[in-house]
């Protein structure tokens, strides 16, 4: 067994180096790109001028029109005025081609054909910090929090981005910037209530701005009862044999229960956000943030000693960071960061059902904390107008332990075989319950890992209107092979307002810590990372300040990692896609309108395994119905066509109206359904054919796999009461909707038996009403 031993000398060196940098610098003026003269700047559109310093997707400051990625920016005004339950709703409204499905374990984000059984193909960045869970969950926190009033903007890169932020950004980057003392009012108090999801929240912020010192504090708390008796359609023959809306009469074996309240707090845990930012001496920023959330799993109730209950999970996250941005000279600047993060993860699975209480350790799938310390420095040097360069390094160290404040024997962590479940203490009830089955490993040594990374970017202008961007990042995780993410981008300014960008890159995703640790534990060969190789062509244009066009076409190839019957995530095949994205925006005085159209097509699927499976109707009949080449559609969780409309109109000083709509067609979900139907037709008995036919027709009646439409509207009214500015908003989600169902995430495992279309399921998201009141002092 190989156990990683921390190289203390390296850590001391890194800490010493960072302290040195922090200690040796003094205050300086604000940083601005000096290479852009006023004469260049007046050529920019207003939107570009407002965003001259945008940095998401690159190490160097670059104009938005030159960012070598398909970038979507959701502004504070859009966040405040768009009907949305959470961040993933906003993503679906604004990101061309962006959508999400519901896994039993929460929403799964999808962009450009990339969607996984965990959100680990996307990187979640908050104020520049990578907040992904390394264990297996990826972008886990922040995405379903209901209160978004602390967010200043959200930047989303569609497609690969690990060249800038490191392993994991195969599908995209979601970068959140929170409000701060400079961008918020002195005091804000807000309340909101959603009548349908039965959630209420209250938030407040307070800020103090002094010359060399500013403080920003934000806090919010909210509770949600969720939608009572949601229309949750569920097909399953393995766990009760039934199909239809989940209810007490669901299924033929009497195993139906009421459906879980949709988007309700799990175990009545309130959702809380707390933020404290302190800016001092012009160039230092201290940030701390706490968020939590919980989720009831989408399935039936399961018995426990206290009676039937829904399983679920929860997470808590706390982070601290100290940032410094220092200009050594007009041409040289250094950004340094030191930070700590801790994430609590807990899932109650109800393994022991009615033999044990609901919260007993033997009912858990995991209960642990993931902790991280990191150090990062980026040195930027801009010697000439034509040449800019940046070079950086990052060290991250993770260690795993019990949930905050809990005893050592409460620790349970679920790894891939051969570790399976890990416990730290033989007195653990989990250990004594399951050790006899050979699925628990007692770990004596610290569970930890580290990664050192180096990254660079060169921005060179060989000709007046031509920019070449060379970037790359190397990540060396102590349990994985070295991963290299290079990118080259050519940016041609065709004339004042027209840009053409050609980008070629490789983006990587290391296997989850869940796999890496287990593979290392078993002394098996180090696994390969998932690699996305892609090429993208982007054209962007601005006409007359008011009208802008962004067109993008891409082609990408992934050696896809999938969850297999070995209970591991492994490389399962090569998957190639191509797509087209367009965005047209028009602004006229108080009226804004944007129209996005996207198309995606699978070009190739070359599996590593035979994805042949068969339907074995356990307990019903003895037929083994084969399905050959089962998982051949790798974009089975996406509509091929998506058209999105976003409009807003400021009617007068007080009244603001927003409307958005989404049309989607040619859903990949149809493939699984047709595959099962065809298998039954070819190999089933008359009885199973009839059953399958009934399921098929019922699903189609409910709109499954059919073209869909939905629309949302909101209105905000601003008024003054004494010295207080008030904003009263109301919104309706799914105002007009046709076949608007939220699909359950579909995935295929190699070689597993499947009964009927097991992963066919959806929630009919209803028309939703909400209201909020905000007071600004």
């Amino acid at each position: 067994m190989k156990i990683f031993i921390i190289n203390q000398k390296k850590i001391i060196k890194c800490i010493l180096f960072s302290c040195l940098i922090f200690l040796s610098i003094k205050s300086s003026g604000q940083e601005f790109s000096d290479t852009l003269k006023a004469k260049d700047l007046v050529q920019l559109s207003f939107e570009e001028l407002m965003n001259v310093q945008i940095k998401t997707g690159t190490l160097l400051s670059i104009k938005r029109s030159k960012v070598p990625s398909a970038l979507t920016v959701i502004t504070r005004e859009e966040i405040e005025n768009t009907p949305a339950r959470n961040l993933v709703d906003l993503l679906e409204v604004y990101v061309p081609g962006g959508s999400f499905t519901n896994h039993w374990l929460g929403p799964r984000i999808g962009i450009r054909g990339v969607m996984s059984d965990q959100n680990n193909s996307f990187l979640l960045i908050v104020n520049g910090e990578n907040m992904n869970s390394q264990y297996e969950k990826g972008s886990f926190f922040e995405i379903i929090n209901r209160d978004l009033s602390d967010i200043e903007k959200i930047e989303i890169i569609s497609g690969p981005g690990s060249v800038t932020y490191g392993s994991g950004a195969i599908g995209g980057i979601i970068s959140i910037t929170t409000k701060n003392a400079k961008t918020s009012d002195k005091i804000n108090i807000g309340v909101a209530h959603n009548l349908t999801y039965r959630y209420s929240l209250i938030n407040s912020n307070f800020s103090v701005k002094k010359k060399k010192f500013s403080v920003y504090m934000f806090g919010s708390i909210g509770t949600s009862e969720g939608i009572k008796n949601p229309k949750f359609y569920y097909v399953d023959r393995a766990h009760g044999y039934g199909c239809g809306y989940m209810s007490e009469t669901w299924g033929y074996k009497g195993l139906g229960t009421p459906a879980p309240n949709f988007y309700a707090d799990f175990q009545h845990r309130p959702e809380i956000k707390i933020q404290l930012d302190i800016d001092f001496l012009d160039e230092f920023k201290f940030q701390s943030r706490y968020t939590n959330f919980s989720f009831i799993k989408l399935q039936q109730k399961i018995n426990s000693e206290e009676g039937p209950a829904f399983p679920g999970f929860y997470g808590q996250q706390f982070s601290l960071s100290l940032n410094n941005k220092h200009n050594f000279s007009k041409k040289t600047k250094l950004e340094s960061n030191i930070g700590f993060q801790s994430q609590n993860h807990g899932e109650i699975y109800l393994w022991q059902r009615d033999n044990k209480p609901f919260n007993d350790i033997t009912q858990r799938r995991y209960s642990f904390s993931e902790n991280q310390i990191h150090l990062r420095s980026i040195l930027t040097y801009e010697p000439f107008d034509k040449l800019k360069m940046a070079i950086g390094t990052e060290y991250r160290y993770w260690f795993y332990g019990t949930e905050w404040g809990k005893a050592k024997n409460s620790f349970v962590m679920n790894f891939a075989p051969t570790v399976n479940f890990a416990v730290l203490d033989s007195s653990s009830g989990f250990y004594s319950q399951y050790n006899k089955y050979g699925i628990v490993t007692l770990i004596d040594d610290p569970i930890n890992a580290n990664q050192i990374s180096g990254f660079y970017e060169f921005n060179y202008m060989p000709f007046k209107n031509t920019t070449i961007l060379f970037s790359g990042r190397i990540d060396k995780h102590n349990l994985a092979k070295m991963a290299f993410s290079p990118r080259i981008a050519f940016i041609q300014q065709l004339n004042k307002n027209n840009f053409l960008k050609l980008i070629a890159q490789q983006s990587v995703r290391l296997p989850n810590f869940r796999e890496l640790y287990a593979i290392d534990f078993a002394s098996e060969p180090t696994p390969e990372p998932e690699r996305l190789r892609g090429i993208e062509l982007i054209y962007s244009s601005v006409f007359l300040e008011n009208f802008s066009v962004n067109l993008s076409t891409y082609c990408q190839s992934v050696n896809q990692i999938g969850f297999t019957e070995k209970n591991r995530s492994e490389i399962i095949g090569e998957f190639n896609t191509a797509g087209f994205e367009s965005k047209l925006s028009y602004k006229l005085n108080n009226f804004n309108i944007a129209l996005n159209y996207t198309y995606i097509k699978q070009l190739k699927w070359d599996p590593e395994y035979d994805f042949n499976t068969y339907i074995s109707n356990i307990g019903i009949d003895s037929l083994d119905i084969p399905i050959i080449d089962a998982g051949k559609n790798r974009i089975n969780n996406f509509p091929q066509h998506q058209l999105k409309l976003i409009t807003s109109y400021k009617i007068n000083k007080s009244l603001y109206v927003h409307f958005n709509a989404r049309f989607a067609s040619k859903y990949g979900q149809a493939d699984m359904l047709n595959m099962f139907m065809s298998a039954h037709d070819n190999y089933g008995s008359l009885e199973t054919q009839q059953e399958m036919s009934n399921i098929y027709n019922d699903l189609l009646d409910k709109g499954y796999s059919k073209s869909s439409f939905t629309s949302n509207i909101s209105a905000s009214y601003s008024f003054k009461l004494g010295n207080v500015n008030l904003v009263l908003s109301s919104w309706v989600m799914n105002l007009f909707a046709v076949n608007n169902i939220r699909y359950v995430y579909q995935f295929w495992e190699e070689g597993n038996n499947r009964q009927y279309p097991r992963q066919v399921g959806f929630v009919e998201e209803p028309r939703t009403f909400g209201i909020s009141l905000k007071a600004k002092f």
């Binding site: 006023a38 001259v52 701060n180």
Partner: protein, 175 residues
């Protein structure tokens, strides 16, 4: 070389580099914003003698940038005449005044004067907008942002585009 020596040399380098630190100009950005603001403002009278008069009061590094920018750049199709003065009587016929930080003590006096004319007032000092300056620029996390005193601008004879308002932080006057 020992590890200790390496860090001492690095420390000296960082300190030395710090001493060489030059002021990095944010004024290129601010000058561009001033030009941009004029595109979204309508003045009530035709601009006299085909010249747009832009005045700067007080001490500011912006002067050099504006001089360079407006050598051949026009505002609303007119040549730009730059006026650098501290005397309010020179300002009766200007279209736009940039009020420098150095004029903080006499801001009320300046505004009492400019309020009589259709003059767009722009500043880049904290609290100027509260006092009644029409547009005030500020730095937010490396971005230039601006606030607009909507009451003040509505009281003047100037018309402001909602597009400009939509990206601004709206400020009310300290009455």
């Amino acid at each position: 070389m020992t590890l200790k020596n390496k860090y001492i040399i690095l420390l000296l380098y960082l300190l030395f580099a710090n001493a060489l630190q030059a002021q990095v100009s944010e004024y290129n950005h601010k000058a561009a914003f001033i030009e941009r603001f004029t595109r979204f403002i309508e003045w009530p009278n035709s601009i006299e003698r085909d010249t747009f008069k832009l005045a700067v009061i007080g001490k500011t590094p912006l002067k050099a940038t504006l001089s360079e920018l407006f050598i051949d750049l026009k505002i609303k199709g007119h040549n730009v005449e730059l006026i650098y003065t501290n005397n309010l009587n020179d300002l009766t016929k200007v279209n736009l005044i940039f009020i420098s930080k150095s004029e903080k003590k006499r801001i009320n006096e300046i505004l009492a004067f400019t309020d009589k004319y259709p003059i767009l007032t722009i500043g880049d000092s904290k609290g100027f907008c509260d006092k009644g300056v029409h547009i005030n620029m500020y730095v937010d996390d490396n971005y230039i942002r601006y606030e607009i005193n909507q009451d003040a601008i509505e009281k003047s004879d100037l018309k402001v585009s909602s597009q400009l308002l939509s990206s601004a932080k709206i400020i009310k006057s300290n009455d």
